[in-house]
C-alpha cells in the first residue's frame, strides 16, 4: 500500500471510489449474469405454461361448441400479445390439429415432439423443431374428466435468448452509466474536498511571503455585510477597506464611526462576518483564516506606522548628532593643534610632568576627533547622504599607502609592524575616500586591539571579477560566535574595560555600510587568542561607472 500513500489526497479519494465502484459493478454484473438473467429466463419459460393453461381453460367451451373461428381468434390473439411465442396450436385425437397460428401448412412432425402422456396434464420440454429450439408446453383440455384436446404452446428459445441478451446489454449499459457517473461524481467530490486544502496551502505560501492581501474563500467567500446581505449603499465601515469590518478590529473606531456604532450593530445582525460559525467546517476554516490574516495585516500596518515614527525620530537624532559633531570638530581640531604645538616646544620647553599631561590631552583630543568623524559618517549613512563617487584606481598606491600614512603616528605609538603585501597590479573601481576610511578603521582597530609589538599584514588579490582584500593581525581576535556581532552598530566586543574605552563601536559598522555601498561583502575570520583577519570582497567595477577611463589616465594619476 506504499504506492497508495504516495498519492495525493485527491487521487486517494478518486482511486478508493473507483475501486469501490468497480467492485460493486463486478458484483452486480456477476449477479445479473448468474442470478437475475437465469431466473428471468426461467420465469419467461414458465410463461409458456401459464399461456397454455389460460388457453386450455377458454378452449374447452369453444371445442365443445365446435366454434373453430373463436378458437382460432383466441389463440391468434394470445400469440400476438405474447412476443416470445413461436406457435400455438390445438389438437385432438380424432381430427389432429384443429387450429394453429402458423401461416404455412402445419408441419405434422410438430405433433410428435412433445407428446403428452395420458396421465399428465402439463409437460414442458426443450425441443428441436423447424422453428429452432422451442420450449414446448403441452396442456390437456378436459371436459369433465375426459380429455378433448391438447394445447401446445411453443416459446422460441432464440427470442427468449435475444430478449435476455438485450436485457443484458441494457443492464450493462446502465452499469457503465452508473460507473461513469460514479467516476465523474468522485472526481467532483474529491475536487470539492481538496480544492479548499490546496487554496489553504497557497494562502499559507502567501502568508510566508508576507502577502496579507490574500484572503481565503474556501467554499463560499466571506464577504462584507454591506455587499452581501444588507443591501445598504453606504456603510460606515466600507471606506475602511476589506472585511471583516471595523467592528471586529482591535482598534476602536474613530469618532465619526463611533456615532454610527449603534445603527451598525442593528444592521450588522445579518452580517456574514458574524456568521463565521455557520456553514460547513471548510467554510468556518476559511472564515477563521480570513480573520487571522486580517489581524496579521492590521498588526503589520501598525508596525509600519511605528517603524515610520521611529525612523523619523532616528533621522532627527542623526541630524542633531551631525550638528553637534560638526560643531565639536573645529574646537577639538584647534585644541589638538595647540596641544601639538606645546609638545613641539614651540612655546618653550615643557617640564616632564607638563609634557606627560599635554600628551594625555593630545591623545584624548585625537580619540575625540576620531569619534566625531565616525559620528559624522554614521549620520551621513543613516540619513542617506553619504557621497559615493567611484572611479578606477590602483589600490596599493591610491588607497592603502595614503591610509597607512595617515595612521603613521598611531602605528608608531603602538609599536606594531605593518607588512604591506598589497599587489601593485590590483585596480578597482571604488570611492577612494570611503575605502580609505575602511582601511583606516581596520588598521586603526588592529593597532588598538592588536598585540603590542605585533604584526599587521595587508593583502589584496585580483580574483577576476572581484578582489579579495585582507587586513590580518596577530591580535587576540574574538570568539567565532561573536564575529557576527562585530559589524553591528555600537557593537564592541569587550575583552576588557580598558579596550572598551578605545572606540565608539561604529568603525566596523561604517566599514560594512561602505563595502555594501560598493556591492561587496565584509566578514571576519580568525582563531580566538591567536589571530584575526578581516576580509573584504569587492567587485572590480561598479555598474554604470566610468568604464572608458583609460589605463594611461590611471598611470598618469599614479
Amino acid at each position: 500500500m506504499h504506492w497508495f500513500k504516495r498519492l495525493k489526497v485527491k487521487q486517494q479519494i478518486a482511486v478508493s471510489t473507483v475501486l469501490v465502484v468497480l467492485f460493486i459493478a463486478t458484483v452486480s454484473w456477476l449477479s445479473i449474469q448468474y442470478v437475475v438473467l437465469p431466473n428471468l429466463s426461467n420465469e419467461i419459460t414458465k410463461r409458456g405454461g401459464i399461456v397454455a393453461k389460460s388457453i386450455a381453460r377458454r378452449a374447452q367451451q369453444y371445442l365443445t361448441a365446435d366454434d373453430r373461428s373463436n378458437l382460432l381468434d383466441m389463440i391468434f390473439t394470445e400469440k400476438w400479445t405474447q412476443p416470445y411465442l413461436a406457435y400455438v396450436f390445438i389438437s385432438n385425437e380424432v381430427d389432429g390439429v384443429i387450429a394453429h397460428t402458423l401461416l404455412q401448412p402445419f408441419p405434422q412432425s410438430l405433433l410428435g415432439v412433445n407428446l403428452l402422456p395420458a396421465d399428465q396434464i402439463q409437460q414442458t420440454r426443450l425441443v428441436k423443431t423447424c422453428f429452432g429450439d422451442v420450449y414446448d408446453t403441452a396442456m390437456a383440455i378436459h371436459e369433465e374428466s375426459h380429455r378433448i384436446g391438447t394445447v401446445r404452446v411453443g416459446l422460441s428459445k432464440v427470442l427468449v435468448d435475444e430478449t435476455m441478451g438485450r436485457l443484458l446489454h441494457i443492464l450493462l449499459a446502465l452499469l457503465a452509466l452508473i460507473i461513469s457517473i460514479g467516476v465523474v461524481l468522485t472526481n467532483w467530490f474529491s475536487r470539492q474536498i481538496t480544492r479548499p486544502i490546496l487554496q489553504l496551502s497557497d494562502l499559507t505560501r502567501d502568508l510566508i511571503s508576507c502577502n496579507f492581501q490574500a484572503c481565503a474563500h474556501l467554499g463560499k467567500r466571506v464577504e462584507c455585510w454591506l455587499t452581501k446581505d444588507c443591501n445598504q449603499t453606504i456603510c460606515p465601515a466600507h471606506e475602511r477597506g476589506r472585511p471583516p469590518c471595523w467592528l471586529l478590529d482591535t482598534r476602536p473606531p474613530d469618532r465619526a464611526e463611533a456615532g454610527l456604532f449603534s445603527r451598525k450593530l442593528e444592521e450588522c445582525s445579518r452580517c456574514q462576518v458574524y456568521k463565521e460559525n455557520v456553514g460547513d467546517e471548510i467554510e468556518q476554516l476559511a472564515a477563521a483564516f480570513c480573520h487571522m490574516i486580517h489581524r496579521l495585516d492590521l498588526y503589520q500596518e501598525e508596525l509600519k506606522l511605528t517603524n515610520e515614527e521611529l525612523r523619523k525620530l532616528n533621522r532627527n537624532y542623526m541630524k542633531m548628532l551631525r550638528f553637534v559633531s560638526h560643531e565639536l570638530k573645529t574646537p577639538i581640531a584647534n585644541s589638538s593643534m595647540s596641544a601639538q604645538a606645546l609638545l613641539q616646544s614651540i612655546f618653550g620647553e615643557l617640564t616632564p610632568p607638563q609634557e606627560r599631561m599635554v600628551k594625555l590631552i593630545y591623545s584624548n583630543l585625537s580619540s575625540s576627533m576620531e569619534m566625531v568623524r565616525n559620528y559624522l559618517d554614521l549620520s551621513r549613512i543613516e540619513t542617506g547622504e553619504l557621497l559615493f563617487q567611484p572611479r578606477r584606481l590602483h589600490l596599493a598606491s591610491e588607497v592603502v599607502a595614503p591610509a597607512l600614512n595617515h595612521l603613521i603616528t598611531l602605528i608608531d605609538s603602538s609599536r606594531i609592524r605593518v607588512e604591506d603585501q598589497t599587489d601593485e597590479g590590483v585596480i578597482l573601481e571604488v570611492d577612494k575616500e570611503l575605502l580609505q576610511v575602511v582601511y583606516g578603521n581596520l588598521i586603526g582597530n588592529a593597532c588598538k586591539y592588536g598585540r603590542e609589538g605585533g604584526v599587521i599584514r595587508l593583502q589584496a588579490k585580483d580574483q577576476g571579477v572581484s578582489c579579495r582584500l585582507e587586513v590580518w593581525n596577530d591580535g587576540p581576535g574574538v570568539a567565532r560566535e561573536k564575529m557576527g556581532q562585530l559589524f553591528q552598530k555600537f557593537s564592541r566586543i569587550q575583552q576588557s574595560q580598558k579596550e572598551a574605552a578605545k572606540g565608539t563601536g561604529l568603525g566596523l559598522f561604517i566599514s560594512r555600510k561602505i563595502v555594501e555601498l560598493h556591492g561587496g561583502k565584509i566578514w571576519a575570520e580568525g582563531v580566538e587568542g591567536e589571530w584575526i583577519n578581516f576580509v573584504i570582497e569587492l567587485p572590480k567595477s561598479q555598474e554604470g561607472s566610468r568604464e572608458n577611463e583609460s589605463e594611461e589616465d590611471l598611470d598618469h594619476r599614479r
Binding site: R68, S69, N70, L72, D73, F76, W80, L102, L103, Q104, P105, F106, P107, Q108, S109, T129, C130
Partner: protein, 414 residues
C-alpha cells in the same frame, strides 16, 4: 454407404416435415404464392350473409364485374385473375379464420376487397406477418392508415375525413353547434366517434350526447334515450344500415328531427330503401361519386355496363362502385408490377401510381409513405327514396327539413 444413407435420410426428413428448410426457401423465392403461369389467385373475406351482406355482395359484384371483363380480354400479362371469396358474416373471428385459410391453404397472392372495420382490424397482424398485399378495404378506419403500413393499400377516404367534412360543412355553413354521435360499439364506431370529436375540437365543440349499440344487433333504444334529451341539432351516425334506419325511424316517431348523417359504410342505397319516407333529408357522405352519373363519369358508365352484363339482377350502388374501383386499382397494380410478379414488386408498383385517372374526376395517387389513394368526400342526401348528390350550398336547406320534419325532398339534384 453410410453417407449415402445419411443424405437420403436428410432428404426424407426435409420432405416429410414440410418445414421451411433451406431447399424450401429457395423454392419459395422462385415460386410466388398464388401466381402461376396463367393465373393470379386473390383472396377475399367479406360479409356475404347476415345484416351486412348487402355491403359484401355489392363490393364483390362490383369488383368481379371488372375482373371478369379483364379475364375475358386476356387477363393481366397473360394471367387470369381468380378471386377466392369467403363469407365472414361481418364477424372478425370468421374473417381471421378465412384469411388464414386463404394464406395457408389457398396460397393466395394477395388479399382484396375486405369489408368492415372490426374484420379488417382483426387480420392486420396476420397481413404484417405474412407480408402480403391487402388492397381495397371497405372501411375508413384510421388504424389502417396511421401508422403507415406497407402492405395495406387504402383507396377510399377515411372516416376521419368523412366526419371532418360533414362537421366542417354543418358548423361553417349552417352554424350548428349541438352534435350528437350514435355509434356501433366496436372499432368502427369508436373510429367514427374519435373522428367526430377531433373535427368538433377544431371549433371548440364536443358532442352534446353519445349513444351506442352492440354490433350485429338493432337494439338502439337506449342510445336514443341518451341522445334525445340533449336536443342535438345533428346526429352523426356510425353504424350499419339496419341499426341506423331503426334509430332514425324511432327518432322521427318521437318527434325528434335533427339532421341525420351517416358515413359511407352504412350503404346509402340500402339505407334509403329501408327508411322509405322516413329517410327524407338524411345526409350520407360517400367516398366515391354516384354510379348513376354515367354521362359524366367514364368509370360509372363502365361499371353500370359491366354490372348489367355479369350481374343483371343488380342495380348500380355506391358500394358496388367502390368495389369496382378497388378492382381497377388492383388490376392497375398488377399491370405495373410486370410479368415477374412478386408481392414486394406489386407494392412497389402500386406506389408508382400518381395522378392516375380512374374515370371519376378524382385522381388517384400513392407513394412510399402514403397508401391512401383518394381523398375526396361527396355529400348525398336521401330524396324521394333515392340518394341524390348535393352541392354544399344546397345543404343549407337541410336545416329546414330537420326543423320542420317535412317528409319531402328539397335537396336539389347536382
Amino acid at each position: 454407404m453410410k453417407s449415402r444413407l445419411l443424405c437420403l435420410g436428410l432428404l426424407l426428413f426435409c420432405l416429410g416435415t414440410g418445414c421451411s428448410g433451406a431447399a424450401k426457401e429457395e423454392v419459395a423465392v422462385v415460386q410466388v404464392p398464388g401466381v402461376s403461369a396463367d393465373e393470379i389467385r386473390l383472396g377475399s373475406s367479406l360479409a356475404l350473409s347476415g345484416h351486412a351482406s348487402f355491403l359484401g355482395t355489392q363490393t364483390l359484384h362490383g369488383a368481379l364485374s371488372y375482373i371478369r371483363a379483364i379475364n375475358e380480354t386476356g387477363g393481366v400479362h397473360g394471367r387470369s385473375i381468380k378471386v377466392i371469396a369467403y363469407d365472414d358474416g361481418y364477424d372478425p373471428p370468421r374473417c381471421l379464420e378465412n384469411t388464414q385459410k386463404l394464406i395457408v391453404e389457398d396460397k393466395v397472392f394477395g388479399l382484396f376487397c375486405y369489408v368492415g372495420t372490426p374484420t379488417s382490424v382483426k387480420i392486420m397482424p396476420l397481413v404484417q406477418e405474412a407480408r402480403l398485399p391487402l388492397v381495397g378495404l371497405f372501411t375508413g378506419a384510421q388504424v389502417l392508415r396511421n401508422p403507415f403500413q406497407r402492405y395495406i393499400i387504402n383507396i377510399r377516404a377515411s372516416y376521419y375525413q368523412e366526419t371532418g367534412a360533414v362537421v366542417k360543412e354543418l358548423v361553417e355553413s349552417l352554424g350548428l353547434e349541438k352534435f350528437a354521435v350514435f355509434y356501433q360499439y366496436d372499432d368502427y364506431g369508436f373510429d367514427g366517434l374519435t373522428g367526430t370529436q377531433i373535427a368538433l375540437k377544431k371549433y371548440g365543440l364536443t358532442p352534446v350526447a353519445t349513444g351506442s349499440y352492440r354490433r350485429g344487433s338493432v337494439e338502439v333504444e337506449q342510445a336514443l334515450e341518451q341522445i334525445l334529451p340533449s336536443g342535438a341539432e345533428v346526429v352523426i351516425m356510425i353504424g350499419t344500415h339496419d341499426s341506423c334506419a331503426k334509430f332514425i325511424q324511432m327518432a322521427r316517431t318521437r318527434g325528434f328531427h335533427p339532421i341525420f348523417h351517416c358515413v359511407s359504410f352504412v350503404g346509402g342505397d340500402e339505407l334509403a330503401k329501408k327508411l322509405g319516407g322516413d329517410g327524407e333529408g338524411v345526409i350520407v357522405t360517400q367516398v366515391v361519386p354516384p354510379p348513376t352519373e354515367t354521362l359524366l363519369l367514364d368509370a360509372a358508365e363502365e361499371y353500370t355496363k359491366l354490372l348489367s352484363q355479369y350481374y343483371p339482377e343488380d342495380r348500380p350502388t355506391y358500394v358496388g362502385f367502390e368495389g369496382y374501383l378497388n378492382a381497377r386499382v388492383m388490376v392497375e397494380g398488377l399491370r405495373r408490377a410486370g410479368p415477374a410478379l412478386t408481392r414486394e414488386g406489386f407494392i412497389d408498383a402500386i406506389e408508382t401510381i400518381e395522378n392516375y385517372s380512374l374515370g371519376i374526376a378524382n385522381p388517384l395517387t400513392f407513394n412510399s409513405q402514403d397508401h391512401q389513394g383518394l381523398e375526396k368526400v361527396y355529400f348525398t342526401q336521401i330524396c324521394g327514396g333515392n340518394l341524390e348528390l348535393v352541392t354544399k350550398p344546397s345543404l343549407k336547406e337541410t336545416r329546414e327539413v330537420g326543423k320542420s320534419g317535412l317528409k319531402e325532398c328539397i335537396g336539389s339534384k347536382d
